[in-house]
Amino acid sequence: MSKQKFIVKSNFKDIKNFAKLIPQRKAMLKSGSASPVPKTYPINELAKLNHPGKMNLVIDEIIEHSPDMKSFIFKSADGKKLAPFRAGQYLTLKLKIGSSIVTRPYSIASTPNNARDGFYNLTIKRVPDGFVSGYILDNFKVGDRIEAYSPEGTFVYEPIRDAKTVIGIAGGSGITPFVSLAGSIDDGTCDANLVLLYGARTSEDLVFKKELDDFAINEKIKVVYVLSDSDEEGYEKGFINADIIKKYAPEGEDFSIFLCGPKAMYNFAGKEIEKLGIRKKFVRFELFSSATKATEIPGFPMEKDGEKFNLTVKQFASQKVIECVANESILVALERAGIESPARCRSGECGFCRSKLVSGEVFIPSNTDGRRLADIKFGYIHPCSTYPMSDITIKID
């Protein structure tokens, strides 16, 4: 080691100053207040308000649009403020149905300001053969207490990223995030223009029509109803295609397309949007309302359809063996067995259900493989978008 000498002030002063370092710090540490260390700070409280984790809600009101579609007005059940959210986000409800524990995400139809006023509206449509939506529509009653996870989701208008005008394409229960967006444009929370293309079979099927017509008085909001099965005056006829989008798009300026609707709509409108040749950054989809049968997923090994396997689940210090089936996601197997697992989006995206695949073969559809690079490398899966292809063992915590 070099013995070159570096002197700052003088050898004596430097060493004297060095000798002070420890006593100085000791004295400073001792001089701290003896009153209790603060447990929290305003910004930490804002973080808790925004992301409370689980919320205890109570059903305050139910509005029946049809036997197959109802709006549920939720209020806080424990006096805590409702978590704020951004138009387009969803709540995840956690339910115990029979021996199953399930979670389901639902877009919030009410506005962020409504949450500040104390309520959320979730408008839920019966999914044919759906396990949870049917249960909710037939069983939820005023006064029921429901557990929900705080609002999540990225299907939101971002002024820095998106064009000034949003072309919303909605169908079925996919209308709900747009009702929220229209409301928040109308009350000034969100600064954007909305052209909503709302597809339905007939005008009878247009839930929220009155609310939307009221919003459309605002010059920033335009609503176009597109009916596939009936020809009525004042409505567009057909499916939402490239021509209709072009017809209502702002001239000579960029626009962002936001799409939320049933599977058939994704398939059709998705191709129509491609025809427009607009940049990916201007097209956003909300995935979760598009439930797909496993056997319809491209690449699904059909020979495994219906095959049953053992699923060994390690959770903390415990271990359980349950049944699973090739054409149902691992998350569904966990839910059926009543095992609580931290799932939210159910579409492979959010990562809350991330679990270690200890052993076994699985099928992961590439279009819903939302895993991080290192998770793929180190053998993690998202059970909500993973199908068992053999006996498997997972660690879920």
């Binding site: 002197i7 370092l21 400073m28 701290g32 009153s35 910004i43 804002l46 991330r354 490398k377 180190f378």
Partner: protein
């Protein structure tokens, strides 16, 4: 007998490296982590077709060859190095000032001689002084490592210091700028040399010279790296190694109580679970503030713990904007990996202006593609912009204005980046995510959303902390590791601190066992 030898609270960088160090020594270790991923801030997240790095800009003290750099040595010793696909950072930084009359725009490379050459190019006549500084840096780093490894002060140590480490002794009482002044470095060279201050969050009149010069040495001498799979890969690699060594990790397990019996820490309790995880040693990777304020029953707290916790100041509160762009870095004209953009090269003024949301125009912006080619799909770019707030200004933001305030800062960062670099990025934004102090407050339960632990005040610099390695040991069997501790904030520092704390604790326990 306790069920575990060691329970580690939190799988952040300090927690993970301590856990692996304990496990490697044959200890039975349990990690309890509140999230469902390891790493704390060392993680990643996906938006659309982009996977964003959550926090790491560049990992320092990680040389090209085995044994080069202190952090690399630790990764190798613990058996983590080979589990990671590494990528080297090309250049150190490009520093640009926005408002100084004498505008700086300097691209500085890694490698001591390259760095000195480049400085000579920007500031003719600076060479000799720079050589003197790097010569000093090298000696100080060696001594710094020596001090980082001490567990107590004794006679042998003193004589070794007198023999080998007197430069360290003479430099340690002073700030970075006091040393640069003593060397006589020209002002402009000093300004460029000080660019890294934002990685420590303290101005160069305040930051301890050992801390700053050590940082320069770790970066410039050894270069820097990152993991191809983002820092999530680092965290997963640590976790895998930990489990190979027989360690147990439970996710979704938020520890809300440290159990104290007869004045000693004996176990921890996970929120919502009845059973207590008993252990001989509790290693807390959560903020000491949280342990003292929330996890330990006040009746079990010695007054000294309360006083010294209250005495400490929080360091920078974090803010990061993540952008996925739909053009390549070449198309955008983004040539560097790391841009340090400041209002002024005067670090004291700069730190002062960062006390308010409006006044803050400082940012470190990284283009991940220029460190990890192919990290995003072809024709796209990942950029992330980080700044710090040197006061708790975000606490004054009302919930109703919160989203707008995020946008305000995001817009300002984009404007400042475009202004500084002459590039145009605004029209190419395909994905955006913004993390504010509230985000960090939520994610790591960080008081005020600090991402830098305790501020390295003049009296609380890392020299003093390293000289008092046991100053946080206020309850027997309870130890702290991570960014709030001796080595200070940062990835390399936290890994080092976890490793050294585990070693220190085991050494102490061996001594105690030998006595008994």
């Amino acid at each position: 007998m306790a069920k575990w030898d060691v329970v580690v609270i939190g799988a952040g960088n300090g927690g993970l490296s301590a856990a692996v160090t304990f496990a490697k020594a044959g200890k039975k270790v349990l990690i309890l982590e509140k999230h469902n991923v390891p790493g704390g801030y060392a993680t990643s997240f996906k938006r659309g077709r982009f996977e964003f790095e959550a926090s790491l800009h560049e990992l320092s003290s990680y040389g090209c060859v085995p044994g080069a750099g202190n952090v690399r040595k630790i990764f190798e010793e613990l058996g983590v190095h080979d589990k990671i696909e590494w990528s080297r950072i090309p250049d150190a930084y490009r520093m640009i000032t926005l408002s100084d009359p004498d505008k700086i725009d300097a691209i500085m490379p890694f490698g001591v001689s390259n760095f000195i050459d480049k400085m000579e190019y920007y500031v003719p006549g600076s060479r000799k002084k720079m050589e003197q500084i790097f010569d000093l840096c090298e000696r100080l780093t060696k001594t710094g490592e020596f001090f980082g490894n001490i567990s107590s002060i004794n006679k042998d140590l003193v004589s070794e210091v007198l023999d080998e480490h007197m430069d360290f002794v003479r430099v340690a009482p002073y700030s970075a700028n006091e040393i640069l002044k003593a060397v006589g470095l020209p002002k402009k060279a000093k300004d460029i040399f000080n660019a890294y201050w934002c990685y420590l969050g303290v101005d160069c009149d305040t930051i301890n010279a050992i801390h700053y010069l050590g940082l320069i040495d770790r970066y410039i001498n050894y270069g820097a790296v990152c993991a191809k799979g983002r820092s999530h890969e680092l965290s997963c690699a640590f976790q895998e190694r930990f489990e190979e060594l027989g360690g147990t990790i439970y996710f979704n397990s938020f520890v809300d109580k440290i159990v104290i019996k007869d004045g000693k820490a004996v176990g921890v309790q996970v929120k919502g679970r009845d059973e207590i995880e008993y252990a001989d040693t509790i290693l807390c990777n959560a903020a000491p503030h949280n342990a003292v304020a929330k996890m330990i029953d006040p009746k079990d707290l010695p007054e000294v713990a309360v006083r010294q916790t209250n005495a400490r100041k929080f360091a920078g509160r974090g803010f990061t904007m993540f952008l996925g762009l739909d053009k390549s870095p070449e198309e955008l004209g983004i040539t560097e990996h790391c841009y340090m953009i400041y209002d002024t090269a005067n670090t004291v003024q700069q730190v002062k202006s960062m006390e308010t949301i409006e006044g803050n125009n400082a940012q470190a912006t990284c283009c991940l593609n220029n460190a990890v080619p192919g990290c995003s799909p072809e024709g796209t770019t990942i950029l992330y912009f980080t700044t710090l707030y040197t006061a708790d200004c975000w606490s004054e933001v009302d919930e109703r204005d919160y989203v707008k305030m995020k946008e305000y800062v995001g817009n300002k960062m984009i404007d400042n980046f475009e202004k500084a670099t002459g590039t145009k990025i605004r029209d190419s934004i395909e994905e955006i995510e913004i993390a504010t102090p509230a985000t960090y407050a939520r994610y790591a339960d960080a008081p005020q959303g600090t991402i830098y632990g305790y501020n390295a005040e003049k009296w609380d610099g890392i020299v003093q902390r390293l000289l008092m390695p046991a100053s946080d040991d206020f309850i027997p069997n309870l130890y702290f590791a991570g960014g709030y501790c001796a080595q200070g904030l940062g990835f390399g520092s936290s890994y080092t601190n976890g490793y050294q704390t585990a070693k220190r604790v085991m050494k102490k326990q061996q001594k105690e066992a030998a006595k008994a």
